[in-house]
Amino acid sequence: MSYARGLAVFAVLAALPFFLGNYYNDVYRKLLLWITLALGYNFLFGICGQVAFSHFAFYGVGAYSIVIFLFQFNLPLPLAMVLGVVLCAIVALAVAIPSTRLEGFYLALATLALAQLFIVVLNEGGAVTGGTGGLANYRLPDIFGVRIAGPGYTVVIVALLAGTYALLRRLDHSWFGRACRAVRDNPEAAAAMGVDVARTKVIAFTLTSALAGVAGMVYAFVDNTVNPPIFGLENAFLILFMVIVGGAGRHAGAVVGATLLFLMPFFLSPLIGHHHVLVFGVLVVAAILVWPKGLVGIWDAIRFRHP
């Protein structure tokens, strides 16, 4: 995407919230956050080939840390943000160094245990994490005396999405992105070509987890409440399925998958009630069995069909 087109897309996305009501603004913000998370997860799972269930735990670390830094330690906003990012990166690095040694699905299960443990800690954290009820009754501090709320805050989320996308796209097209794909497809060959497999995996894991943490910091002021269930296993599965259905390893796939699976309940719930989750499960199995390249793969097949 050229800069002009990128700017045009950004302008449209950022202008949209001003034409939406409160309810649709909320839906739109959540959608943007899901896309942001899916883009990061796609880099980890689709491009670097690591299945981890800790993505939402890091989202939670970001969200909880900024709220705790701001309102329990009473730190100023810029310092709290920096500390939040640093905390996420340190935790991610501490998890990544031992666990990325694990092969295949064993990494998934180790990070699954970590994610569950994070929920246990949140539930038992007493006054610091607010226990099962989480933390609420706070709002974003004014920045230079300006209160950012409503559609204005939605623009902040658009900026988050754009920044995440720009960074990941840049990385994907760099030496590092190619190293990640090589590690995914054939670690031995990658090592033979001089790629440091362990370091590539650790960097990819730490970076995407820190990005999830940043998204979590932004999320903390969307609902103005953080509580444990949002950061649990259900959503960690959902983000994996979004990337699979859309097309793993493609940024467009993450966007399409996140949009489709996030919006599907809004359209299907009124029609078939709770059965929509069953439809979702069948869709995931079908995606893996029938379209291994996801919806983006189907689109490519149609576009590049040879007559």
Partner: protein, 291 residues
Amino acid sequence: LRDFLELAVSAAASGCIYGLVALAYLLMIRPTGIINFAVGEWAMLGAFGGFVLLTRYEWPYPLGMAAVIGFMLLVGWGTERIAVRPLVERGAPLLAPILALLGMLVVFREIVSVSFPPDPHPVPYPFGIGRLELGPVGGSYQSFFIIGVTLAVFAGAWLFFERTVAGKSFEAVAIHRRAAALMGINLSRVTALSFAGGAGAAGLAGLLVSPNISAHYLMGVPLAIQGFTALVIGGVGRVEGALLGGLLLAFAEQFIARYAPIASGYTQGVPLLFLMIFLLVRPTGLLRARA
């Protein structure tokens, strides 16, 4: 000491449940390398089978139990047909069937959640509610029933793998897939049987545990995590490892909950910590595969 022995019996019973779930994983991992995280949902299906046949239609227990296990064998076989075989035949990477089975997890859970109301469903005890005292050792009938059935299943599994040609063929596939195929072992039949057996073991675990905790559509994932932890502790190499891992995990869990001075909520974290520590420090488990 009475307290200790009482706790030991109930820990042994839940250890047996974890061991059965771990056995289900092991049956599938050994020949195929596939970690099937849907075993928890299979246990849930077994528990709901028990609810339908034993509570709703009031079948006699042995008949209901046999029917549930038979149904689970079919479920396992069908799952392999739908979600695993097409991918294996296409030569997809190992991760593809694992992810397809994660999707099947959602499918199983949602089929149950749309077919039954969301509250817990009671399943009857085979011998009613009562206590059995054997000298100083005492516990509920159900605890002893669970321990007895599990020991029988593990003895059967051990005999199958050690003493029969069919069991040896499973072992051969586990050691070297291609060589086993060249020796005339039918790989797809071994895979289908391992999934049927895994579903049978998992469904049995669900049926046995259901009188204590009631059948509920969200019971699967915790069982799947605990069973996998048991498997990792015991190691995937040997059948006995699954039972050993299950027992160790349950004893650690229950004794920490009873005697360690930590908040009760944190005891939920014990199996998770065990899982992480064992994966990172000793991924081969306590028992090594026999050479």
